[in-house]
Symmetry: C2
Subunit: 335 residues, 2 copies
C-alpha cells in the first residue's frame, strides 16, 4: 500500500470515529453554542469568531470517546466535552495575545479585530463558563482533574514564555513544555470523560495515559509539519514557528546536530530573529539534512504507539478501535 | 461626637473584626502563600509582588466572617477564603493589563515589570489555583457560586471596556457594571462562606445580599474618594479615574447635572481624554458644586444600610456586629 492510500485509510478510520460520535458531538456543539452566549454582545461575537471557525474539536471528541469506551450514560460527559473546548478556546485567545499571532484557524486573530483587552477578558469568560459546565456535570473528581489541568497549562505557558527563544533549550525541557501546554488537556479530557461516567481508577488512568501520549504525538507532528514534513509541498502555514523564533523539537535537534558550524546562523535567525526569505529555506534544509525532522517524526510515532498501547486493557470494541485510529491520524495527517 | 471620632470609632470596630478573625485570617494567609508557589519561578515572584503588597484582604475576611456567623467548623471556608483572594488577584492582574495601569497597591504594576504576557498567564494560573482550592473545600454548591461569580465578573469587565469612555453612560448601566465587576465577588464570598458550612438557604441568601450591598458601598466610596471626597486633603491617588477617562458615578451625575453648559468640557477631558493640570481641579469643582459627590456618598451610605439590614435575621453576636462595622467602615474610611 502506498503512502497516499495509507493516509486515506487512516483518515477514513477517523471518519469512522466521527461517525460513531456524531450524535454526541452534535449535542456537545449545541451546548457550546448555547453557553458562549451572554447579554454582553461582544462576548458571543468574539467567541463565535473563534469557535465558529471550526477547528478539529479533537479534545471534546476524546472526552466523548473515553466516556463511551467505559459505557458512559447520561449527559455529564457532554458537559465536560463542552467545558474542555471552552478551556482550549480560552487558552488560544490568551496565547494569541501573548504571542502577538496574526492568524488563527485561517482567520484574522480576534485580538487584531477587537483588541487584546477583549481577548483577555473573553478568555476569562470562557474559563469561568467551563467551570460552570463542570459543576453541572456533578463530578467533583472530574472538576479536580480539569482544574489541575488548567493550572498546569498556565505553568507550561509561563515556562514557554521564559524559554521560547532560548537556543540552548534542551529536549527534556521542551517536552516538559509540550506535556504541560498541550498534552495535559488531552490527558485530562480523556480521564475526566471516564471519571464522570464512574470508570474504575485503572481505566481512568489508562485513558489519561492515552490522552497524554496522544497530545504529545499531535504536537510533535505539528512541529514537524511547520517545516513541511517530508513532503515536497509545504503546508500553507509552514514556517510560522520559525518566523516567531519558537524553539520546537525539529529546531532544537538541528541546533544540537549542526554544532558550531551553524551557531552564528541560529543566533541570527532565532536568537535575534533577524530573518529574510532565504533563511527559512536554509533552516529547513539543515533540519532535513541533519535528520532532525525524521527524529521528530519518529518520536511522534513512538508516542502514537504508546497511546494505542495504553488502550490494551479495554475490549477491542468500536470505540477502542476508533481511539487507536485517532492516534494513527495524529501522526499521519497532511499539513 | 465629631467626625474624626466617628471615623476612629468605626475603624476600631473593624479592628475588632480583624481581631475576632485573626487566627482564621492567618491560616488563610498561610494557605494563600503555599498555593501561589510553583516550580516555574516567575509565577510566585509575580504573584507575591501583588499579594505580598498587602491589600485589605476584605473579600476573604467576608468569607471567614460569613462562615463564623453561621457557626461554621472545619477548614472548608478557609480554602474558599484563599480561593476568593486568588480570583480577586487574577482579576487585578488582567485589569491592569487591560487598563494599562501603572500602579497597584502603591507598587509598580506587575505588567510593567514582567510584561503583559506574564500578567495574563499568571492571572490564569491564579484562576485555576482558585478552582483547585474550591475542589478541596468539597462543596460543589460553593464552587457553583464562585464559578458563576467569575463569569459575571468577566461580563462586567467586558461591559465596562465597551462603555468606559461613554459620556452618555447612565446610572443604571454604571451600577450594573459595579454590581458585576466588584460587588458580585463580595456577594459570592459571603454566600459561599455560608454554603460551605451547611447554612440554610435563607441564611446563605441573606449573606449574599449583605455582600452585594457591601461591594456596592465600597466601590461607590472609592469613586467618591477619587475626587477627594468632601475632605480638604486629597488622597495620594486622587484623580486616577479622571485621568483614565473612567465614567464613574460622581462624573456621570455631574455630566447630567451640569447640562449643556459643560458638554464641551466633558467631551474634551473624558471623551477625547485631552487633559491638563487644571482640568482635574475644574472637574472636581463641578462634581462638588453640582452635588454629584454628595449624591454618590448618599448612595454608598444607603447601600451600607442595606447591607446591615440584610443581617437582621441573625442573632446580634460578635460576628454580626463585626460585619455591620465593616459596612460602616466601607463608607467612612479615609482616602
Amino acid at each position: 500500500m502506498d503512502v497516499a492510500h495509507a493516509i486515506a485509510d487512516r483518515r477514513s478510520s477517523v471518519d469512522a470515529l466521527m461517525g460513531l460520535a456524531a450524535a454526541d458531538m452534535a449535542a456537545a456543539d449545541t451546548l457550546i453554542r448555547a453557553r458562549l452566549d451572554s447579554p454582553i454582545a461582544l462576548i458571543p461575537a468574539l467567541a463565535e469568531h473563534l469557535i465558529g471557525a471550526g477547528g478539529k474539536r479533537v479534545r471534546p471528541l476524546v472526552t466523548v470517546a473515553a466516556a463511551r469506551l467505559v459505557n458512559g450514560k447520561g449527559d455529564g460527559y457532554l458537559k465536560l466535552a463542552a467545558a474542555v473546548e471552552f478551556i482550549h478556546t480560552a487558552t488560544l485567545l490568551h496565547d494569541d495575545v501573548v504571542d502577538g499571532s496574526e492568524l488563527r484557524r485561517g482567520k484574522v486573530a480576534a485580538h487584531l479585530i477587537w483588541g487584546g483587552a477583549s481577548s483577555v477578558l473573553v478568555g476569562d469568560f470562557l474559563f469561568a463558563r467551563a467551570f460552570e459546565l463542570m459543576v453541572e456535570s456533578g463530578s467533583l473528581h472530574a472538576l479536580d482533574i480539569l482544574a489541575r489541568a488548567s493550572r498546569v497549562i498556565a505553568e507550561g505557558e509561563v515556562l514557554q514564555l521564559t524559554r521560547a527563544h532560548d537556543l540552548n533549550l534542551n529536549v527534556d525541557t521542551y517536552l516538559e513544555i509540550v506535556a504541560a501546554k498541550t498534552a495535559e488537556l488531552f490527558a485530562a479530557a480523556a480521564e475526566a470523560g471516564a471519571v464522570v461516567c464512574g470508570a474504575s481508577a485503572k481505566r481512568s488512568a489508562a485513558l489519561r495515559d492515552y490522552g497524554m501520549s496522544l497530545g504529545l504525538a499531535f504536537q510533535l507532528t505539528d512541529d514537524a509539519l511547520d517545516y513541511g514534513g517530508t513532503s515536497e509541498v509545504l503546508g500553507k502555514n509552514a514556517g510560522d514557528d520559525f518566523r516567531e523564533g519558537k524553539a520546537t523539537l525539529p529546531l532544537i535537534l538541528a541546533i544540537q546536530r549542526t554544532g558550531s558550524a551553524e551557531t552564528a546562523f541560529w543566533e541570527k535567525v532565532i536568537g535575534r530573529r533577524d530573518q529574510d526569505e532565504n533563511d527559512f529555506r536554509r533552516a529547513r534544509e539543515l533540519i532535513l539534512s541533519s535528520g532532525a525532522l525524521q527524529a521528530t517524526q519518529n518520536q511522534a510515532q513512538a508516542y502514537a504507539e504508546k497511546a494505542k498501547a495504553a488502550l490494551g486493557i479495554f475490549p477491542a470494541d468500536d470505540w477502542r478501535l476508533a481511539l487507536e485510529a485517532l492516534a494513527d491520524f495524529a501522526v499521519s495527517r497532511p499539513a
